[in-house]
Amino acid sequence: MAVRSKDTRPMIDRYRWWEVVLIYAGIFVFLFFMLAPFIEGFLVSLKPLSQLFSSPYKFWPENGSFKAYYTMWVSVPRFGRYIFNSFLISTVATIIVLALVVPAAYAFARFNYKGMALVLGGFLAVSMFSGAVLLIPLFRLMRTLGLLNTYFAMIVPGVAFLIPSAIWLLRTYMMRIPTELNEAAYMDGASQFYTFRRVILPIAAPGIVVVAITTFIGAYAQQFIFALTFNSKSDYMPLPVGLFAYFGKQDVIWNELMAASFVGIAPALVIIFFLQRYLVGGLTAGAVKQ
């Protein structure tokens, strides 16, 4: 075995040429599966309708244009409204989740009283039940409270299912804050609340930001079943449900639907690109080794 002095990689990370080819081929197949719908969706958004509805199938657009990105505003008159609704619902949901989760995560991270482990288990169990199972009583509850066909009908149930992972994530983060800080504050005569508010919260701020982002993404990604069931006013629909109405039609204007979809997912893609490192850390925190 020849020792190449320039190569500083550990031996186990060195590959023969055919291994490199195999790895790239595998990654290509894997990523093609992950990205094919986006590639196809993007190409469709560039194709004129006449080419879309013609056989044989052509992968690349011929005289493609961004025309659909203009015309969709006419075909989907409430498009801007849907995006606004999506953002509004996700933002309000994130704020409520943070207000509930930040104190709870701190309690789980710092105190270990009888019954708390059980409560934590209870929170984790919540994430096992989807909203779909609870739709009937939730529907009746929303009707009784007069919340049907309001933003709250879509926000309130969604929040409950965002709580468990947010608590878990923030608890993991807060457990890394040294308890000496609490003790020092106690010695200085600070109250429990003062310590939480003035000592812990500022230190936990980066963790709270990560939780806020992952919660927002979760809220943005999962707007469907509650919005579909509890709201029938087009003015309040979030983007997925708003577009679903067009998806179901007999003559779907596919290029415009795809253009609209791309504009709708753009914020999520931007977030992935810039915050990827925090996201991966955040989303898998506490998962492998607690």
């Binding site: 207000a99 039940f129 199972v133 009583p137 409950a160």
Partner: protein, 294 residues
């Protein structure tokens, strides 16, 4: 840690809002679902208790088929997610240029609004003009257009593939983290002993990521069992019920036909299965944690 009566109260005050919220939005509806399952609740104002009538009504061959279909759908979906996730994680763990970019590119199906990703699959499955049918025809694998969502068996698999597509990124990233937490010296030692790459994967990577695979497959089982959006958007349970899983079936009964009582009975059956999965999950993770300490 300072223990006092005031900090005990403080801890529970911090927890109270979240606990109350979850009690009202999740726990109470669960109990209420159970109660409603013994009633004839519908759109009408009056609701009467009807005993176990809903349960005797739903337990027939059609419902058993739905249960079996749900298990088959879930099983294949989870199995594929685990296999593809392992494959992806091992590939993304290789020390080749570009791997950071590849990791980012894995994430979109997970992060973008689920429904929108599903719309794109809806187009890909289109028989006349869709990509999959088009490419298969070009490669000469099929003769004419294949409308994947129009036939029972292909719709069944098409919805599974879309579910796998949405689930794989999370599984991959999770497995990747598990692989990266395996000490490098193990590989170096094995390499020194002349173990091939395959042997190292088989004897080091796979056994050491087994806890992650077990944990993930159970979490994935629960999530997949609850899957609603994909089937509802692509097929709404059709054609002729071939993609009707228990969740879809419950939704059709309760929200579609407004039979709340009967729908609740169907939901209770789902809850029983979910509770069993949940108990199994907690037991397995506890066992794994104990193993890790030992």
């Amino acid at each position: 840690m300072i223990k006092s009566r005031s900090s005990l109260i403080f801890a529970w005050v911090l927890l109270a809002p979240a606990i109350i919220y979850v009690l009202v939005i999740v726990a109470w509806p669960l109990v209420e679902t159970f109660r409603l399952s013994f009633t004839d609740a519908s759109l009408s104002r009056t609701t009467n208790y009807v005993g176990d009538k809903n349960y005797t009504k739903i337990f027939n061959n059609t419902f058993l088929t739905v249960i079996l279909r749900t298990f088959a759908w879930t099983f294949f979906s989870v199995l594929l997610k685990m296999i593809i996730g392992t494959f992806g994680a091992v590939l993304l763990n290789s020390a080749v240029p570009g791997r950071h970019l590849f990791r980012i590119l894995t994430m979109p199906p997970w992060i973008v609004p689920m429904a929108i990703g599903i719309f794109m699959w809806g187009w890909m499955y289109n028989g006349q003009f869709g990509m999959i049918s088009g490419l298969l025809q070009r490669m000469g694998i099929v003769d004419g257009p294949v409308a994947f969502l129009a036939y029972g068996s292909s719709a069944f698999w098409a919805t599974i593939v879309t579910d796998v597509w949405i689930g794989v990124p999370m599984v991959t990233i999770y497995f990747l983290a598990a692989i990266q937490s395996i000490p490098k010296d193990l590989y170096e030692a094995a390499w020194t002993d002349g173990a091939s790459r395959w042997m190292r994967f088989r004897r080091i990577t796979l056994p050491l990521m087994a806890p992650a695979i077990i944990t993930m497959s159970m979490l994935s089982l629960i999530a997949t069992f609850n899957s609603f959006d994909i089937i509802w958007i692509l097929t709404q349970g059709g054609p002729s019920g071939s993609t009707t899983t228990m969740i879809i079936d419950t939704y059709q009964t309760a929200i579609g036909s407004k039979k709340y009582g009967e729908g609740a009975a169907r939901a209770v059956v789902i809850c029983i299965f979910l509770s069993l999965f949940c108990i199994a999950y907690f037991r397995v993770t506890r066992r794994l944690a104990a193993l890790e300490k030992a």
